[in-house]
């Protein structure tokens, strides 16, 4: 028996404005996605792990849109992308295990953070309750950028707890060290069953998770090849999930390898089809790390003037990621892809 009126309901229309997760077609441009989901004062996280499968184009888009007062949580991010936002004073707080003034062969891996710590520019830095910009160096009246120290496992457990929808996860990492001593959000208890020390890691539910995947369909099923990082936990913990995909495929293609779908459609709010979105980091099976670009941009950004010039050229000088790729040269990106394909390849 036909149900009266069912044919006239346009479900696509009905769910259009209110519930992104229920849409059948979630494809958006990167600009739209950042505008729609990330607002001033929000917290966000990015997928991937040091130098690999990290949506760097999103960092440039956030800078382009001039967002303010964001906080970022990441276990070990590409310091380059985070440093870009630090340079602009966009971040209020970073929760991380490793993204700090690292040295890359004698040059600073995060020049902006280092300037912040030593010279108070663009804003002072206060790290882990241990280090802070010396008072006589603080020039601006902007509140300091707060850095909170965790370990990788602890940051990952924050997402796991967030995804479990419980307030904390217990673990046995770093008991007795200074990380739980200075990080007041970590609680040390004697567990009620065995009466032994244990530390509790609070849950975290970021507002937005930007996650790069190799393959996704329009409805938002994301497939990942290679290491998974903490990505599928991030996708379950975050309020909004934006997938940036190297390849947009019909759902039939997803059916071929369902085991690789680590982010099912019900997690996803938007799908952005953006090849090479991880550049200058790499993407397993798609393209390798652009070390030449990475080192040369670090060299350029060692001084504040150089960094601002770099921003003018590569962030504000390009309207979107495709203009960035045009500027860089597609033949170079192609070369990076060729190099990766000699080692790893996503089956067609």
């Amino acid at each position: 028996m036909a149900i009266k009126g069912l044919g006239t309901i346009n479900y696509e229309e009905r769910t259009k404005d209110t519930d992104y997760k229920k849409r059948l077609n979630k494809v958006m441009t990167e600009r739209e996605a950042v505008e729609t989901f990330l607002h001033d004062g929000d917290s966000f996280c990015i997928g991937g792990f040091v130098m690999w499968r990290q949506p760097e184009s999103v960092m440039r888009e956030i800078a382009r849109q001039g967002k303010k007062n964001l906080s970022l949580i990441d276990e070990s991010g590409t310091f380059e992308g985070i440093d870009l936002l630090v340079e602009l004073g966009i971040l209020d707080r970073i929760d991380t295990a490793y993204a700090i003034t690292r040295q890359v062969g004698g040059i600073s891996g995060t020049p902006a953070l280092e300037r912040g710590l030593k010279e108070g520019l663009p804003r002072p830095v206060e790290a882990g309750g241990v280090l802070a910009t010396p008072k006589d160096k603080v020039k601006s009246d902007m509140p300091p950028l707060k850095i909170v120290d965790w370990t990788n496992f602890q940051v990952a457990l924050r997402f796991v707890a967030g995804a479990f929808n419980i307030p904390f996860m217990p673990c046995r990492s770093s008991i007795g060290s200074d990380i739980p001593k200075y990080n007041k959000e970590i609680k040390e208890i004697n567990d009620p069953y065995e009466n032994k020390p244990l530390i509790l890691i609070p849950a975290y539910k970021p507002d937005v998770a930007f996650i790069s995947v190799q393959r996704a369909d329009r409805r938002g099923n994301g497939q990942i090849w290679g290491f998974k990082g903490t990505d599928y936990w991030k996708a379950r913990a975050a309020k909004y999930v934006v997938l940036l995909t190297e390849e947009l495929v019909p759902t039939e293609k997803i059916y071929e390898n369902p085991g690789l779908t680590v982010i099912p459609a019900y997690c996803t709010d938007a799908v952005v089809h953006l090849p090479f979105n991880c550049h200058p980091t790499g993407c397993f099976g798609c393209y390798t790390v652009d070390s030449i670009n990475f080192i040369s941009l670090l060299l350029q950004r060692q001084s504040r003037e150089g960094a601002l010039k770099w921003l003018d050229e590569w962030v504000y000088g390009c309207k979107n990621h495709f203009e960035y790729c045009d500027k860089l040269g597609w033949e170079k990106l192609d070369r990076l892809a060729k190099s990766e394909h000699k080692l790893n390849r996503i089956p067609g």
């Binding site: 882990g128 280090l131 290679g226 998974k228 903490t230 790390v289 080192i295």
Partner: protein
């Protein structure tokens, strides 16, 4: 563990003098570190020198170890030195592609036998700081998974280039728990899973921890390290460093170990400390940011990877 010993008498004085200059510090650290593993162990590798040591062990000494990188790669044939624990080379021919929390969960369950780590500061009881250096220097770095690994891996082998500044009475900030206050069951009381640090491999000898007092002592030296050299090493410590009664003399790096090292670090990212000395630095400084530069650098990488893949398959 700790095989490949020799005697000083085996070498003539001129030979020793020649050997002292022959090897670079990272080479010595990696080779000494690579000898710390037992075959079939599960080995957690970090990046840079600590990964190189694991790679040399896998290629030369202990072919059946399972290498694990924290981003989620397990059981890879150490295809190249890793720039990041998420490196594609670790994914190539890996037994398992996992996620990061799972690797650490496995570690907390006790599956990881030994891990390689580096450090910036260490105290008498093997507690380590890699994050915050206070005072005039004002440095930060972040421990990444170091705190987790030092807490839970069966044992930890630290691989670092010797630097007198790294030994301190009290570390500025503890990221990696060693034997904590040094008391006999400090780690057990703290409910830490792993056994704590077992060795510190440097270019000026291998240090170990006293099983009773958990105090760091000098256990092994290279053949060219004479009394004078050992005294100099001892003076770098702010406490009275003990030296093993039966100080062992290590073999210098073998041909095979050096071959493995060069094969792995084909672009000299870790053997050369400064970026401007490395092939990539030279390409960038020559202004070759065009396709030609990319061809040159990536070609170099690919050639080395081809050689390694041929060897391991």
């Amino acid at each position: 563990m700790g095989h490949l010993y020799t005697t000083r008498e085996k070498y003539a004085p001129e030979q020793l003098e020649e050997m002292r200059k022959k090897y670079t510090s990272p080479e010595l650290v990696c080779c000494a570190g690579s000898r710390e593993i037992i075959d079939r162990e599960v080995v957690f590798v970090g990046i840079g020198i600590s990964d190189l040591a694991g790679a040399v062990a896998k290629l030369v000494h202990t072919p059946n170890v399972i290498l694990v990188a924290e981003a989620g790669y397990i059981g890879f044939p150490s295809v190249a030195v890793l720039i990041s624990p998420a490196d594609n080379a670790a994914g190539t021919m890996a037994m398992c592609h996992q996620s990061l929390p799972e690797v650490f969960i496995d570690q907390q369950s006790g599956f990881i036998d030994v891990a390689y780590l580096g450090f910036a500061q260490m105290d008498k009881s093997g507690n380590v700081n890699v994050s915050y250096i206070t005072g005039k220097q004002l440095k930060m770095n972040g421990s990444g998974g170091g705190g987790d690994i030092a807490s839970s891996a069966g044992r930890v082998v630290y691989t670092v280039e010797f630097n007198p500044r790294q030994w301190v009475k009290k570390i500025d900030y503890m990221t990696e728990p060693g034997f904590l206050d040094g008391s006999r069951d400090a780690r057990k009381k703290a409910n830490l899973v792993g056994g704590g640090p077992s060795a510190v491999a440097t270019n000026r000898g291998v240090f170990r921890f006293d099983p009773e007092t958990h105090e760091l002592y000098l256990a092994e030296v290279f053949p060219w390290q004479d009394e004078e050299d050992i005294e100099e090493v001892r003076k770098s410590f702010p406490w009275d460093l003990k030296v093993a009664e039966e100080l062992k003399i290590m073999e210098p790096p073998t041909e095979r170990e050096l071959w493995a090292l060069r094969l792995m670090d084909s672009t000299s990212n870790y053997i050369l400390a400064s970026v401007i000395d490395r092939p990539i630095g030279k390409i960038i400084l020559a202004g070759k940011l065009n396709l030609e530069g990319y061809d040159e650098y990536l070609g170099l990488q690919e050639k080395a990877l081809r050689e390694i893949l041929e060897f391991v398959s």
